[in-house]
């Protein structure tokens, strides 16, 4: 027995050494953490239980076959984790490596708990040939089946190139680290050979590019520790699976030193940072923004209200006047569908001047992208409350959680303007004959336009026209909004919606 135990211990020790001391030192010299260190920082201390430690390549000294898998707890709740180990064969993906990952994916499905994958891999293990392609396929297949069942989180902490990049893209949230994460389908060398374009790895597929431009990364971190802390914070808002609601925490008041009245400018043309309004409505220090750097004209994130997780979608007048474009529609619709899949109630804060006009936008599919927003709201069966802050014009109004598209309650501030279009544009359409006549007779067209715009604003651009028709539920004073929204969500806690059974709908693409 004693001999056997010594053998076990030595085998275990060998596995824990990953790619060996030299390889680990090399990583540390570059300021990088090892796969095991990353897991240790991510999960609650002492809770990691490794699976498949003794898996390795045939006749090869490759501890764990380049990936560390197991179960652990984060914030006291179960999670499944895998972390690719760059010190072993460059974290390359061979068949057994892949099968370790699919095994832990299957376990997460059975445990009904979130799964977090830390990606750091040179790509397919070429020696394994088509076996490694089989491995990728089996992982992607499970990514898809697990989608909407348990939260799936991808952390890219190193290269994640070629086919490997699709796995994070199939999961719910992608985290990337400045200067460390690199994700692309074809690297700079191929781009240069084929297209003649010279670009660095960082500029082609670094964290900032994916967070700001491509939108692949939902979270951008300055360093690895910051990144892992953000993963823990995100999980705090989420339920374990689609079967349950997120945990309700202790209720905290909203901050006392800010108010909606002090943030919302009285001049309708003045922009403001809508995140301030979000903070006024949320429990103090509970706002956690998703996709902060991508499509900033719409803000998405999680907050707590009276201790419960709520998803927020809000137009951002500070950027592109808060107008909708393809990226904003992609970002918000995806977020809404996540909330719907995981029983997270949705609050929409509307201040939308409409959709961004332009040839470029129309030609790149503004219509089909914008349609996603309608689809996401209409499809959702979670409790949905909308607050109209100022502008609610045209299609923007309809798509962003209006009553007509599925919101349970719509509240308006007294500053709300719900109309088909803004006063100035409406006047030029309604009075184009009169305007033409004035111009021909050499009259002052600006005075006429201003007068008519004022008239239009009085008659139509207010909350009471929609109120008279029952399209909104109430007009609420700024200081009462938080209370009304909390009460509204409380009244909807047992919301049940029956929908006809079908295989699945077709989201616009």
């Amino acid at each position: 027995m004693k001999e056997k135990i010594t053998e076990l211990e030595s085998r275990r020790e060998r596995a824990l050494m990953c790619g060996g001391e030299t390889a680990i030192d090399k990583r540390h010299a570059k300021g990088l953490l090892t796969a095991r260190e990353r897991i240790d920082i991510l999960v609650d201390a002492g809770t990691f239980r490794e699976t498949d430690m003794f898996v390795h390549k045939d006749g090869d000294d490759a501890p764990g076959d380049g990936v560390v898998c197991g179960v652990a707890k984060i914030g006291g709740k179960n999670v499944c984790v895998f972390a690719q180990d760059f010190t072993v064969l460059g974290g390359s993906l061979g068949l057994r490596h892949a099968r370790k990952i699919t095994k832990i994916q299957d376990l997460a499905a059975k445990m009904r708990c979130p799964i977090i994958g830390i990606n750091d891999s040179g790509g397919a293990r070429i020696q394994d040939g088509v076996d490694s392609l089989c491995g990728y396929g089996e992982i992607f297949y499970r990514n898809t089946l697990l989608s909407g069942l348990v939260p799936q989180i991808s952390v890219v902490m190193g290269p994640c190139a070629g086919g490997a990049a699709y796995s994070p893209a199939l999961t719910d949230f992608v985290f990337m680290v400045d200067g460390i994460s690199k994700m692309f389908l074809t690297g700079p060398t191929v781009v240069e050979t084929v297209m003649g374009e010279t670009i660095s790895q960082e500029d082609l597929g670094g964290a900032r590019v994916h967070a700001e431009k491509a939108g692949t990364a939902h979270f951008f971190a300055k360093n690895e520790k910051d990144c892992l802390a953000q993963v823990r914070r995100l999980l705090d808002y989420l339920p374990q699976s689609a079967d349950v609601k997120p945990e309700t925490k202790k209720s905290v008041d909203s901050p006392k030193n800010i108010s909606i009245e002090s943030i919302l400018p009285s001049d309708g043309k003045e922009p403001y940072d809508v995140r301030g309004i979000v903070k006024c409505l949320a429990d103090e220090d509970s706002f956690f923004e998703v996709h902060e750097l991508f499509a900033p004209n719409i803000v998405c994130g999680f907050i707590r209200m009276d201790g419960a997780t709520v998803g927020v979608v809000a137009n951002q007048p500070n950027y592109l006047a808060g107008a909708l474009d393809a990226d904003a529609a992609d970002k918000a619709s995806r977020f809404i569908r996540f909330c719907d899949a995981f029983n997270i109630p949705l609050l929409t804060l509307m201040d939308v001047p409409g959709c961004l006009p332009g040839v470029e936008g129309e030609h790149s599919g503004a219509v089909r992208h914008g349609a996603k927003l309608f689809y996401a709201y209409a499809e959702a069966t979670i409790p949905m409350v909308t607050v109209v802050l100022r502008k609610a014009y045209g299609g923007g109004y309809v798509s962003l959680g209006s009553r007509h598209i599925g919101a349970d309650y719509v509240f308006c501030l007294p500053t709300a303007e719900i109309a088909v279009m803004g006063p100035e544009s409406a006047v030029s359409v309604l009075y184009h004959k009169e305007i033409k006549a004035i111009v021909e007779n050499g009259g002052d067209v600006e005075v006429f336009k201003k007068e008519k715009a004022e008239e239009y604003r009085r008659e139509y651009a207010n909350p009471y026209e929609a109120g008279a028709k029952g399209y909104i539920d109430d007009v609420v004073k700024p200081q009462d909004v938080r209370g009304r929204v909390i009460d509204a969500f409380a009244s909807l806690s047992g919301k049940a919606v029956d929908r006809p059974n079908k295989k699945h709908g077709l989201t616009p693409t």
């Binding site: 802390a229 750097l293 900033p296």
Partner: protein, 125 residues
């Protein structure tokens, strides 16, 4: 005085800084300059494009009428307003992505700004 929040490993620290005071922060040997405050309350700075020499060319994120623009030679801080463009029923403020000096200005008040022509070039200082 402004209150700022610094989050380190999930813990939020609150502190006050005086207006116009520069901030730097070092956490476990990683040094952050004032960029650790980016995109929080200063608006957005994605309209910049960097060339080889430390110059930032700021493009209008939205086309519209220029109703205010900063003069050449102005010293600016990160987050200062460079221009105001009226578009989509709104005065859109364009913020500086960096601290520096305004080296070139490409529009006058009343011009129609287009996406392809930059507003200003800033020399980072």
């Amino acid at each position: 005085m402004k209150q700022i929040e610094i989050e380190i490993d999930g813990i939020i620290y609150k502190t006050f800084v005086r207006d116009n005071e520069e901030i730097s922060l070092t956490v476990e040997e990683t040094h952050y300059d004032d960029e650790f405050m980016d995109d929080h309350g200063y608006g957005f700075n994605d309209a910049h494009r960097r060339n080889q020499r430390d110059e930032y060319e700021v493009f209008p994120p939205i086309a519209g009428k220029v109703i205010d623009i900063i003069p050449v030679g102005t010293k600016i801080k990160k987050g200062d307003v460079l221009a105001t463009i009226e578009a989509m029923k709104m005065y859109n403020r364009i913020f500086s992505p960096v601290k520096g000096i305004v080296k070139e200005v490409h529009y006058s008040v009343g011009d129609n700004a287009v996406r392809s022509t930059s507003l200003v070039i800033i020399e980072k200082k």
